[in-house]
Symmetry: C2
Subunit: 283 residues, 2 copies
Amino acid sequence: MNSQYTHNTAPTQFVEVDGIRFAYRRYGNPIGTPIVLLQHFMGNLDNYDPAITNALAHGREVILTDNAGVGLSTGTAPDTVAGMARDAASLIDALRLEHVDLFGFSMGGHVAQQIAVDRPELVRRLVLVGTGPRGGDHMDQLAPDVVPLFQTAHEPQDLMWLPIFFSPSEASQAAGRHFLERIRARTDDRDVPVSEATIAAHLAAAHEWGAAAPDSFDYLKGIPHPALVVNGSNDIVIPTINSYILQQNLPNAELILFPDSNHGSHFQFTELFNRYVTDFVDR
Amino acid sequence: MNSQYTHNTAPTQFVEVDGIRFAYRRYGNPIGTPIVLLQHFMGNLDNYDPAITNALAHGREVILTDNAGVGLSTGTAPDTVAGMARDAASLIDALRLEHVDLFGFSMGGHVAQQIAVDRPELVRRLVLVGTGPRGGDHMDQLAPDVVPLFQTAHEPQDLMWLPIFFSPSEASQAAGRHFLERIRARTDDRDVPVSEATIAAHLAAAHEWGAAAPDSFDYLKGIPHPALVVNGSNDIVIPTINSYILQQNLPNAELILFPDSNHGSHFQFTELFNRYVTDFVDR
């Protein structure tokens, strides 16, 4: 039934767990292990890239999620990654998915790691894009010149993602404008902006996750799942070295870094990324 | 004419330049840009992996090379990478190849970088495997526990590559044994071992290349060629961080790091590596 839909036509659906009504979209070919996508800070269901999700949907069901307190999901956004992981896992359970691949981008990558730690049997493979480990390098707070990029008003507001996801080069910015066209293309049944309260809670969660602590990478040894770690050459949000640290400390991780790119390298090298990621989840 | 041959049947050929008789093998489909392979320390024509070269040969000519003083090539091995790069470029010129992709593994990767600096117009794309930049991290000499791995006698001697190219894991060592079967499969017209004099000269070249110096990565900004940088998660010969440094300093490089692997990750994840590398040189 779900395979009749694509990214732009899949209806927003809802499932209620413990008083939280989670918003999600689900579509794709129900032959492979379903893949659950976990969104970045300030993103909702409309910030997933159709060029990526439609490619994934050829070989599996794709489940796009709003975590608690995000967009059309109700509930209170937790101020820890542990809380966000509990909520996301409860959504996966409510959808009766027993074994999933997780695709976490940025803060969604923190959540994916935490689910793999807390619920290892639920997870088959991890795709960790533009993310980093607990207590990573310069992850406790955003760089001073990056903070304003998240606070500047634009018209339309999604222009904020151009300097955050893409490098200053002409080629990267052009890729960014194509990305914006893609995420604007869905016209009906769109999600709603993330609230200020949720933004504040998620900022606190990111600070707590990023705070350096002794042995803060040790938990990675307890994530045996095959992982594909991907980032841009110069991620200004979660410095690229953190992707290297993930690969070096996860027992079974492959790393891919793209040239001339920033936090959203997968939105820039989308065709190539799709070949890598579908190859990885097809295994 | 060359496409009738494969790795194990391509005859060893010779070309003379300035009194040096270079040994090489050349075969493959003459449709794409030819790819020239530059060998690692102590390796000769029989140390290239047929599983990789045959895959490359589907879409282009493959030219396996012995640099000056190596195996069946005559001449004196230079004791600098600059000298090795001059020799390798003179071989490429003698074969009347005007535009090539370079595939350098380990010390062959140093040579490939130097050719790209000295002869930028000769090079289209770079594949840099298990290698590092001039003055890289812990590259001036081998780690004390690694030195004996290059000096221990084995019967047959190629068993030395198991701990050098592969990780201690059972899976990696098993991959290593398959690799040895592959490089032993050619029975006729084999190359001869690298001489002690050449080993000493190349060791000096590696020391000189690896010696840290101020601004030693600056030259990488002058290599605009698209580059694919590949390594294992824990390269004990040229520490993995050097592949990261290459990617961070080359203007247009993609990095791939494989899990549970060592200096010879491409001999371990060969099928996956072949998909990545053929995708890269097909572009």
